[in-house]
Amino acid sequence: MKYSKKVQTRKNVRDNSLKQTKKQTKIAGGDFIDKLHAYRDLHAHALFSSLGRIVAEPFNSIMTISVLAIAISFVSGFHILAVNIQQLAGHIEASNQMSLFLRDDVSDVHATKLAESIRQNISVQNVKLITREEAAAEFQTYSGFGAAINELEKNPLPIVLQVLPKKSLEDRRGLEALQKEFQQSPEVDVAQMDLQWIERLHSIISIVTLFTSLLNILLGAAVLLIIGNTVRIELHNRREEVVIEKLVGATNSFIRRPFLYAGFWIGFISGVSAWFIVTVLMLIVRQGIERLSDLYGGSFHLLFLSLTDTLALITISSLLGILASWVVISYQMHSTKLK
């Protein structure tokens, strides 16, 4: 009984193998186009299966991606802050103009005479006198503290002479000498070059920009580490699969590919989420900022992430994802564990 069954099986197997040989001779070999398609399919499969894995574990994925999205939105938030501050500073043009703030005891008549005498100076192109009243009116219009100044008994603002020197901005020495000359005259309390405070403002902005760039590098490193760790855990969970693939002849690049795509997806989704977070935050603060801008003459409009910024944000976070997984997988494959 047992023997006959064995013979039967043997016969089946032989028939099957005969069938198979016939089939093989009928459709032999795969052509080049087929292989090219196979390569494309391999990438497409890795692309979608890695996305599928992220979706299949929503809780873990949402946690990781939220942390990354917050870190990336800090980076883009700092960037958009810097862009807006630069825009604000850009409205203030550097000029060679000087402001002479006169002492309190100088009268309008005396000031007019002084302005006249300065106008005679060969280095001076023009002088404009701003009286206390004019200054107060300007302050009321533009500062937003108009009511406050009405409360005061006495106008605290000094008379100002706006001097436009003939010397150009490039001649710093000449301008500084002129400033010193004005400073020495007894009627002048403070001789201020407009240039100076603009330079100060710009140096403050450049320090702030440098600081935010440094913070961005740190946050970029954090993003790399988080993605790297996520991919490391993923690799750990799929160790069995990797070992089997290796046993049946998978190259390192074959094994690496789905993990690189996983890194890409994590980076990409985090980048898109970060864009969303930043845009929502900016929509929330926009109204307040525009109202403030109106109070100062309304020349400032809040800048959002531009199309280029958005593309750069998403591209960089995707690339960071790929880089992080590449580093982790390559390291793990070279360590003895997966050999």
Partner: protein, 218 residues
Amino acid sequence: MINFDAVTKRYPETGDVLRNVSFHLRKGEIAFLTGHSGAGKSTLLRLITAMERSSRGRVILDGQDLGLAKEHQLPFIRRKMGVIYQDYKLLYDRTVFDNIALPLIIAGYGHHEVTRRVRAALDKVNLTGKEKKYPLALSGGEQQRVGIARAVVNKPPIIIADEPTGNLDPELSAEIMILFEQFQQVGVTVLIASHDISLITQLNHRVLKLDHGQLVAS
């Protein structure tokens, strides 16, 4: 096809696991590898499948010295052999079809070729119609046959089997042995590690016997 030339494998912890082992399996030859547990069977298989390198001596596979092979060449050497494991080593989150297709996909075969070859392999191991099932829905014997189909789907010149009948009843074991003989008849070199003495004596093939790391019969 498989040539061991005075091969010694030493581990720092356990000392010599294989000592001065030499044998030659020709193309189309079938042999059993036997011996008590711990005799070095698994180590010998790991040397053939290039998962380990010998400490001394040379392992030559299809004319290629594995000791001299570069790391990046190893995947291509492994594609020359189909390996069958006692614990099947299947991917349980993929269908039977996908499991069997894995070596073909890794080797970069196109969709049509993959489908054709997987069908042929399924046919060969009598699993036609089960390609959409998951391994856990199959019996032990069926899972083992999925493992065999995966090992032969790429038509490798060498088949290595590590205790392929370990979990199977005698009838299924006999069936699987017939399959191996089938492959041998078309020129495939087959090496089967087993300690199933009754099966070995019944089939009267060449036997390589390991004892404490030394080859005592070949």
